[in-house]
């Protein structure tokens, strides 16, 4: 890893870019100063904490501790997805189910086929990647669903009036929401490498890895992300549509 040298002075110098953003915000009257400062401080503090925690966890290399950390990541992810859900009922329970399922499925496959070892330095970053992608997909699904149930309310009601079950009446909405949840991952997969080198691959190349090895990992990650977003969108939407109906199969206000 001799390629990786980030001196504290270098770090401080890049901080100038933040000042630049602040200056632009001030000049253009964007009103972002406060959130920019908060974001910068949070970024630094959170990353430092995570860095030290990870260093400690990697050193101890205890499976119980690793699992604890995985659980923390998962709960945080579900909590965040809930925050993006526009107040959808049961969104925490649904996100938790979707995130846990996609995490378990993906980790199991990767660990069993040996592409990833069950050691904290591999499992934890991977879980982070899985959960954050699952979280974003769920957030998208939930938001799309909420707005579609608002826009297409009268059509859903019409289908119910004809004797459709809530699931049939929601079929199009479920389908479109899943599609929306998957879209960013599909779009990224299409242009991967052409516009930007993805984070993980860039990181490996920075650290001096063979680009061909780096792309293999990247392909694995891309496939994995497609898997994660499909699993979570499907679970999220098929559980989520129920929140829009009561026990008499009526649309809730």
């Amino acid at each position: 890893m001799h390629n990786l040298i980030v001196s504290n002075t270098a770090l401080a110098l890049t901080g100038v870019f933040v000042l630049f953003a602040l200056w632009i915000g001030y000049k253009q009257d964007l009103g972002i100063a406060k959130s920019l400062i908060v974001a910068t401080i949070r970024c630094v503090v959170q990353l430092f904490i995570v860095g030290y925690v990870l260093k400690y966890v990697f050193k101890i290399d205890n499976w119980l501790l690793t699992i604890c950390l995985i659980l923390i990541i998962i709960f945080n992810g579900a909590y965040n997805a809930k925050g993006r859900s526009n107040g959808l009922k049961d969104s925490f329970k649904i996100s938790l189910t979707a995130i846990v399922t996609s995490t378990i499925v993906i980790l199991l496959v990767l660990v069993l086929d040996g592409s990833v070892k069950f050691i904290p330095s591999q499992i934890i970053p991977l879980t982070g990647m899985i959960v954050s992608n699952s979280m974003v997909a769920m957030g998208l699904c939930f938001r799309t669903m909420s707005s579609m149930f608002k826009d297409r309310r009268s059509q859903v009601m019409e289908m119910l009036a004809l004797g459709a079950t809530p699931m049939m009446a929601s079929k199009n909405i479920i389908r479109d929401s899943i599609k929306t949840g998957l879209q960013p991952t599909i779009d990224t997969a299409k242009t991967v490498g052409l516009v930007a080198l993805p984070g993980m691959m860039s990181g490996m190349i920075f650290a001096g890895a063979d680009p061909v090895l780096a792309i293999k990992y990247q392909i694995m990650v891309t496939f994995m992300l497609l898997g994660i977003t499909s699993i979570s969108s499907i679970i999220g939407c098929y559980m989520g549509y129920k929140s829009f109906f009561n026990r008499y199969a009526q649309l809730i206000k």
């Binding site: 009601m157 019409e158 119910l160 004809l162 004797g163 008499y248 009526q250």
Partner: protein, 218 residues
């Protein structure tokens, strides 16, 4: 005891009382007409009958049982509500007539669909037409056919003839008569149409959420 009844039916949205203490009853194979000013609660009343809304208090009874005791989905297949200003689904007329089959997992009966189209003066040639190419009156009639592909016991029609020309209106009336006399379908018809109000044997008025019998069968 009527086939479909309401007892002390009330529906509030927040503090606003939209349906006020309605006691209503209709017998099997009857045709009743409901009229009233715009915004008086007619559609809300229809949705309560169709189990699309839950009453704030009071209840709806179908064949002697509170409708809460039925499975809502199968109840709605028996008490079918044709909404005010319906929209057609998908791209073609066929998709719309297939919908009732799809939801009860039966295979589409094309001959039956063609016969149904004929009852409202449309025909086999219209089956594969694009929804976008239909006139307002044709759309309205096709929307209505979705409610009767499987014959319901009660048909609630919410201003289904509003905006139709006389020919389209006549074919809708003919269809209603057909189902009422041939299949003993009970019809509850909401309307603003002067002609329909004049011809109604059994007429109710809903004003400001309250129902009054205007003309009875006594």
């Amino acid at each position: 005891m009527g086939q479909l009844e309401t007892k002390k039916l009330c529906y509030d949205v927040g503090q606003t009382k939209i349906i006020k203490d309605i006691n209503f009853s209709v017998d099997k194979a009857d045709i009743v007409t409901i009229t009233g000013p715009s915004g008086s609660g007619k559609s809300t009343f229809a949705k309560l009958l169709a189990s699309l809304l839950t009453p704030t208090s009071g209840a709806v009874y179908f064949e002697g049982k509170n409708i809460k005791e039925y499975d809502s989905v199968s109840y709605r297949r028996q008490v079918s509500y044709a909404v005010q200003q319906p929209t057609l689904f998908g791209d073609t007329v066929r998709e719309n007539l297939e919908f009732p089959y799809m939801i009860c997992k039966k295979s589409f009966d094309e001959q039956h669909a063609i016969k149904a189209l004929q009852t409202v003066d449309l025909g086999a040639g219209d089956l594969d037409r694009q929804v976008t190419s239909l006139s307002g009156g044709e759309k309205q009639r096709i929307a209505l056919l979705r409610n009767v592909m499987f014959v319901p016991k009660v048909l609630i029609l919410d201003e289904v003839t509003t905006g139709l020309d006389n020919a389209s209106k006549d074919s809708v009336h003919k269809m209603i008569d057909y189902f009422n006399t041939k299949h003993q379908v009970t019809v509850i018809m909401i309307t603003h149409d002067d002609e329909e109000i004049k011809l109604a044997k059994h007429l109710y008025d809903i004003t400001d959420g309250e129902m009054k019998e205007v003309r009875g069968d006594a």
